[in-house]
């Protein structure tokens, strides 16, 4: 079988380990050259200055280029193969956005440049706000949060300030489902709230009865993603919002799973008051090996004056910065990850109404199809129609053959696919969470399911230890405990002994 998403042809098979840039260093080599100093040299004295040269590697430019290019060859990427990673929305990142983001006045503008000289940049944010608020059903937005977790914290600080200004300081509890991303409770705690967990029912949705029990006069709000982390649409979402609103709390939408519903329905219509979006998921900006992301926060009008400032407004065709009256402050030194926001606007402009109207539908179609064919190999966690992602579980295989989700993920790596998200959500045993996104072909989805079948067969029959998987990659299964016990976190051979987890 052939598929565009199978990377098994990659020469990832490494022989030796790549040396570090320090090991390539020899005194006197250098890559950098600068123009000669063109001003008269003077004696400058200051007690903070030193003439001792800094400690850095000394390498030739060709050595440097070869080293980092070889390291590039030791890395999987969206441009190389399929990431069926649940909750991460690893879709194709249009190359065209790279071009726009590198246009000089966008890439090279200093963040302190007055708005008079950066009308283009402000208009980008203004236009993106229009797209984002229409897609989410909200009224206005800030682009300061540089990632989803920062967006969550922004939303929670807005809730806190709103409650303070309405003399409702006693409301100090944030309700979070037990299936939520770890950032939700971590953000709630950072904002100074107490975290109250609400359980999930047998169908995989928020347990409404438990929610009603947990809601009381101290409820400040609820954080929820819809579809939830099981990939299921919370059918009672309108009722859930009402339960929180009736008690005077606010409802926060974690946009991690927004890809499922773009053009289908909108958080704003479901009763959410605050929404963050992950531009690096839903709007196709590259993940960068772990960032930069962008987590803009959109709110309904009654919360506009609490947004971190400044935000962009338009007056008589001139774009201006506006400082919201009761702003929570700032979440970033300047305007957030502007170039990431720009890439997201490029993506939205390329898709336009036609593409965005159908975005969620195709994301769900691919996931529903994949869930249908994968379910013939691995049982699904919930017997409900999935949205953009679904959760399967190998708990039976663990009982019968000691095959863990971890083993399945590692074996997939060997065969040209990234592992699905494993052991998440925490409430599903031996969970494998798949999210194909809308940009993979049906061939790639078929190939993944067929590969899973082969792997499970092989793992069931193998005489050898699963520890041997993966077998075809530059390195084998790492011992993840060594560095925690004998911490080697820099090349100075520094060891932090006797750390116990």
């Amino acid at each position: 079988m052939y598929s565009g998403g199978n990377a098994s042809s990659l020469p990832l098979v490494g022989g030796k380990a790549e040396p570090t840039i320090k090991q390539l260093s020899k005194p006197g080599r250098r890559a950098s050259r600068f123009p000669k100093l063109d001003v008269p040299e003077v004696e400058i004295s200051n007690s903070a200055l030193t003439s001792i040269k800094p400690t850095l590697p000394e390498v030739s430019e060709h050595d440097l280029v070869m080293h980092y290019s070889r390291l590039a060859h030791r890395n999987f990427a969206v441009d190389l193969g399929f990431y069926p990673l649940g909750s991460c929305t690893m879709k194709y990142n249009p190359r065209f956005a790279d071009f726009v983001a590198s246009l000089p006045t966008f890439a090279n503008s200093h963040p302190s440049t007055p708005s008079k000289f950066t009308q283009g940049n402000l208009s980008i944010l203004f236009e993106l706000e229009h797209y984002l608020t229409e897609i989410t059903g909200m009224d206005c937005a800030t682009f300061q949060p540089p990632a989803g977790a920062s967006g969550e914290l922004t939303g929670l600080l807005i809730i806190k300030k709103y409650l303070q200004e309405n003399n409702l300081q006693h409301k100090n509890q944030i309700i979070v489902p037990d299936s939520a991303h770890g950032t939700n409770p971590a953000s709630a705690k950072m904002a100074g709230f107490e975290v109250v967990e609400v359980s999930t029912d047998l169908r995989g949705m928020v347990n409404i009865e438990d929610l009603k029990d947990k809601v009381n006069e101290n409820t400040a709000g609820l954080m929820l993603t819809n579809p939830n982390t099981g990939g299921l649409f919370e059918e009672n979402i309108v009722q859930i919002s009402k339960v929180i609103h009736d008690e005077g709390g606010l409802v926060y939408y974690d946009g991690a799973n927004l890809n499922a519903i773009v053009g289908v329905c909108r958080p704003g219509d479901m009763g959410f008051d605050i929404v963050h979006s992950n531009l690096h998921k839903t709007f196709a900006t590259p993940h960068g090996g772990g960032g930069p992301g962008s987590g803009p926060v959109a709110v309904k009008n009654f919360l506009r004056e609490y947004l971190p400032g400044p935000i962009v407004i338009k007056k008589d065709d001139i774009y201006e910065w506006y400082e919201p009256a009761s702003s929570i402050g700032r979440m970033h030194g300047y305007h957030g990850n502007f170039l990431v926001a720009l890439r997201a606007l490029v993506y939205m402009k390329l898709l336009g109404k036609e593409g965005l109207d159908e975005l969620g539908s195709y994301a769900v179609l691919n996931a529903r199809y994949l869930s249908s064919i994968v379910s013939k190999v691995i049982p699904l966690a919930y017997d409900e129609p999935c949205m953009h992602e679904f959760v399967a579980s190998v708990k039976n295989l663990k009982k019968s053959h000691k095959i863990k989700a971890y083993d399945v993920g590692k074996a997939l790596l060997d065969r040209g696919f990234h592992s699905p998200t494993i052991y998440f959500p925490l409430i599903v045993e031996e969970a494998l969470m798949f999210e194909p996104t809308e940009t993979q072909t049906v061939d790639t989805l078929d190939d993944l399911a067929a590969t899973l079948e082969i792997i499970i067969q092989e793992l069931q029959e193998t005489e050898s230890s699963f520890e041997e998987y993966p077998k075809n990659l530059p390195v084998g299964r790492p011992n993840e405990l060594i560095p925690a016990k004998h911490l080697t976190v820099n090349w100075g051979d520094f060891e932090l002994l006797e750390i116990t987890e």
Partner: protein, 436 residues
């Protein structure tokens, strides 16, 4: 757009799912929530049309302003080698390296990044990046609060006002008041400042926001005597000529890393550096990469000390950070390796020499520098007219003159990129726009 399915593909998928239309996928959704007419947005653009759309947006920006602004973000030369290597798709389009076996590239670069930062700052443990310099200061203060279990913060007022606002937003002022200590008449932190045992952290910038710098060894040692955690915010592009924060005794070093590997980018994405001493390991926010061994005893890099992180520890995590600024950290790594010791020293040295020339010329032409004596690459020019107006007028003449500091002062920065011709022309133009 980017949906790959042909009619044949769709037929196959619809058959598998026993559906006839895409709408059939959503039968279980409440009717009242469905968008029946879709979104109210403009039609899609082809790539060709999008080029003119975005070029028209670009044209709204003033082109080619010669940058004399700093305040944390500096117009340091970013080599093409660094840009193109950083933007390799294997780095740019990869996911967080949880699967070590297929992520050795990113993991090794982040290990090199952590090591380079430790070497440069004289620290022992760096994390794999934070959002930016401002949020890194706030994260460092949280670490100090957790380490000391004290609740007062002593922070120098010599910080970018935006950084102070970020700190005031992220640190709960009701529980952990931040006291800003003004710089003295020489624009230096008062050497006679006395710390107390109630204080958790001493936070200071090297150089100060105003551009002045001082050896901080004595202050840090006084803070240490009272049990404070000392936090140094540095300008990475000056690390080639400044004493290391580690040698001055600091416990935590943070930085706005833009000048090392990222373009100015209107402020983002850049990268926040964070480095500390080993005894702070458990309190460090964000990801840390460590060196381990694989099942065949080969050297293998992995994410480590994971039990601090939000996906495992949830509300007990050391920070809520998940997605960070990895690609910008890759940029820092490659840029630092490209510069080498001579290169990093040279950009610092040229910057302060050119700044010294600019200050002397400004003074010769009748301007006053508020902090001539102790300033290095950045300094305060006193204007005769309103500083905002001067910045606007200079902008119309092709110069970003700096950042407004007060009604009659501009904070101006010089990097190694500025030439004598640009500096002379700046002064000539300033003379013309700032007359009485």
């Amino acid at each position: 757009m980017f949906v790959p399915h042909s009619e044949i593909d769709l037929k196959k998928m619809f058959e598998e799912l026993s559906i006839e239309t895409l709408d059939d996928l959503f039968k279980h959704l409440p009717e009242s929530l469905k968008l029946n007419n879709g979104l109210d947005l403009e039609p899609s653009l082809s790539e060709l049309e999008a080029i003119s759309y975005f070029e028209s947006k670009e044209a709204l920006n003033t082109q080619n302003l010669i940058c004399f602004a700093g305040g944390g973000h500096y117009d340091v030369y970013l080599p093409h080698t660094v840009k193109t290597l950083t933007m390799r798709p294997e780095f740019m389009t990869s996911y967080t390296p949880y699967q070590a076996e297929i992520s050795q590239g990113i993991l090794q670069i982040l290990f090199e990044y952590q090591s380079l930062i430790c070497d440069l700052t004289d620290m022992q443990l760096a994390n794999a990046s934070l959002y930016d310099g401002a949020t890194a200061v706030a994260e460092a203060i949280s670490v100090a609060i957790n380490k000391t279990k004290r609740d007062e913060i002593i922070m120098s007022s010599g910080f970018n006002p935006n950084t102070k606002t970020v700190v005031n937003t992220l640190i709960d002022q009701q529980k952990f008041p931040v006291h800003y200590i003004s710089l003295d008449e020489n624009y230096l932190f008062p050497e006679n400042y006395e710390f107390t045992e109630k204080q958790a952290a001493f936070v200071i910038s090297l150089p100060h926001y105003e551009g002045t710098a001082q050896d901080l060894t004595n202050l840090v040692s006084k803070a240490k005597e009272k049990g404070l955690v000392s936090i140094c915010y540095i300008d990475p592009s000056m690390l080639g000529i400044l004493k290391t924060p580690g040698s001055m005794g600091f416990d935590i070093v943070v930085a706005e890393g833009q000048s090392m590997g990222s373009s100015l980018s209107f402020g983002g994405p850049t990268v926040g550096w964070f480095a500390t001493r080993k005894d702070f390991a458990r309190l460090v926010p964000g990801r840390i990469i460590g060196e381990s061994r694989d099942s065949k005893n080969n050297k293998t890099y992995v994410m480590t000390l994971r039990a601090r992180e939000q996906d495992i520890r949830r509300e007990k995590a050391s920070s809520n950070i998940c997605t960070n600024q990895t690609l910008n950290a890759v940029g820092s790594t490659i840029h630092l390796s490209w510069l080498g010791p001579q290169g990093l020293q040279e950009i610092g040295y040229q910057a302060i020499q050119k700044a010294a020339y600019m200050k002397s010329q400004l003074i010769e032409h009748g301007f006053t520098i508020s902090n001539n004596t102790n300033s290095l690459r950045e300094f305060l020019i006193q204007t005769k007219n309103d500083s905002s107006q001067i910045i606007e007028k200079m902008g119309a003449r092709g110069f970003l003159a700096g950042i407004k500091y007060s009604e009659k002062e501009i904070l101006t920065a010089v990097t190694e990129k500025r030439t004598k011709i640009e500096i002379d022309s700046f002064i000539q133009n300033l003379l013309e726009v700032d007359n009485v």
